[in-house]
Amino acid sequence: MAMNSLLSVENLTVKYGDRVGCRNVGFDLFPGEVLGVVGESGSGKSTLLNAVSGQLPPHSGRVSYKTRLNDRCDIYGMTEPERRFLMRTDWAFVHQNPRDGLRMSVSAGANIGERLMGVGWRHYGEIREAGLNWLEKVEIDDDRVDDLPSTFSGGMLQRLQIARNLVSKPRLVFMDEPTGGLDVSVQARLLDLLRGLVSDLGLSVMIVTHDLAVARLLSHRLMVMQGGQVVESGLTDQVLDDPQHPYSQLLVSSILQV
């Protein structure tokens, strides 16, 4: 475990009954760093993401996080209120399907404002102002602030989900296939936006994707998973341009052939 890491994962193993979801995974995530996790479906990358983000207690291993107060705490050693508080303030989770991360029955403005109200904001004007600011940042017209998300397009929904998550100024963002299910042109715009936000806000990100192009564009470092284990990791360009493990080579070559 590196001293200055934001998030440290050690020997993490998750089992579903007798089946292994992921085995002995360890890594450090540093402030401002974007870590990509790639692999085909069933490789254990979503299991890893859920276990690391506090949503799936592991069978063994440890996930620790350095809080704003600079103390390092064990995610699964915390009480549930502490963990839930962390998850809705310092952390954010962007789901593949924006409907899983949004409240579809309340307006866009309320969706963005919820986290603020959850930590005690009690000034309607300020909450609304924050909502409008974030709509602008994610390139949604401000006259949509009172509209229900159900009237939004897929790309807009995903951008709204991102705004709802980032409004609390989290330090660590987990993303599960954030561009999955979107058209290619919509994907490109979203990736651009994400890259801008991540670097402007200095976010640390763990992003799971099966799309190597997304991984290349966003992440500084890359982990390749197969059968629940990390088979290769390193700087993104290094892994993609000169893969060492046969499975990584296969992944990269299958993309190149397309």
């Binding site: 309340v106 109200m117 309607y124």
Partner: protein, 299 residues
């Protein structure tokens, strides 16, 4: 073989074991203001939704020395209030009254009396849906967790939506409150007009929800704050005219339709309060005296 004769029921209908069970829940509720205590609500001889929770609470705390007042919509004379009062008269033989100040125990549906309550009095509310988060989150398992973890952001999301849509908080009754700085609580479907009366009330406030099997309480002199935003503060309803019978300007008024040509008047919903003001000589535009005076002028 069944006994078809009228069974002599226990004092206040419920058996003593059941009363003790309810009292234990009440003690817990008083100890944790605003927290909803599950209790083994019994079937009562009135339908669920008609005050079975309040009736069980009243039955558990009433004693032979008590003086009971029962109101519905602020009035002692509405049918459901009459029916509940009769029930307790029959099963306890206690003295009943319409006078707020004289009552030691008041069971209410939808109102808090206008006359301020005092030390030693108990106000029992009938509650249909005790969970203030229910219409935001239908699952009991989830709402209990939200209370436990004090995750109340969602409550303000609802108020935010009101303002965005209507320009104002559009909740007029069952307006959520925070009790003693901890639990968010549904004050039962009383109009928000009555919310300020709950704050620091000298009387003990007990809430019973029979169908939903929950009891909660506000001990005397407890802080009760209506949720709001700094720039959209909580306000209560106001009427443009005074009570047509007693001239009161500070009470909650019921609208009475007089004819089908738009004729209407407003009168105090607290019938006893209105009557005692009239007895003290207050009058309004439709008072018998005023009417008489205008008729005399016409003649």
């Amino acid at each position: 073989m069944s006994n078809f004769e009228n069974t002599a029921y226990n004092f206040a209908y419920l058996d003593e074991q059941t009363k003790r069970m309810i009292r234990r829940a009440l003690l817990k509720a008083v100890a944790i203001p605003g927290y909803q205590v599950p209790f083994a609500s019994r079937e009562m001889p009135m339908p669920y939704g008609w005050g079975t929770g309040g009736i069980q609470v009243t039955a558990a705390v009433i004693g032979p020395e008590d003086v009971l007042k029962v109101i519905d919509q602020g009035s002692d004379d509405t049918t459901n209030a009459v029916s509940i009062r009769n029930f307790f008269q029959k099963t306890t033989n206690v003295e009943t009254t319409e006078e707020t100040a004289k009552a030691s125990l008041i069971q209410t549906r939808h109102r808090i009396p206008e006359t301020p309550l005092t030390d030693g009095q108990i106000l029992v509310y009938q509650v249909p849906i005790p969970e203030p988060l229910r219409f935001l989150e239908p699952r009991e398992t989830e709402t209990r967790k939200m209370h436990a973890l004090e995750e109340y952001g969602l409550m303000h999301v609802k108020l935010y939506e009101d303002i965005s849509r209507h320009g104002d908080i559009a909740t007029t009754y069952a307006y959520p409150v925070n009790v003693a700085g901890r639990y968010v609580m549904d004050p039962s479907p009383t109009p928000k007009f009555d919310n300020p009366k709950m704050n620091n009330m000298p009387a003990l406030q007990l809430f019973g929800a029979g169908r939903e099997k929950r009891i909660y309480a506000i001990p005397p002199y407890t802080e009760v704050v209506s949720l709001d935003f700094e720039d959209y503060p909580f306000t209560i309803q106001k009427w443009e005219e005074p009570c047509a019978l007693c001239g009161e300007t500070e009470s909650f008024l019921d609208e009475v339709i007089l004819d089908d040509a738009g004729g209407r008047m407003f009168v105090c919903s607290d019938s006893h309060y209105c009557k005692s003001r009239q007895e003290q000589g207050h009058s309004g535009s439709q008072s018998p005296d005023a009417e008489k005076a205008s008729r005399e002028v016409a003649e």
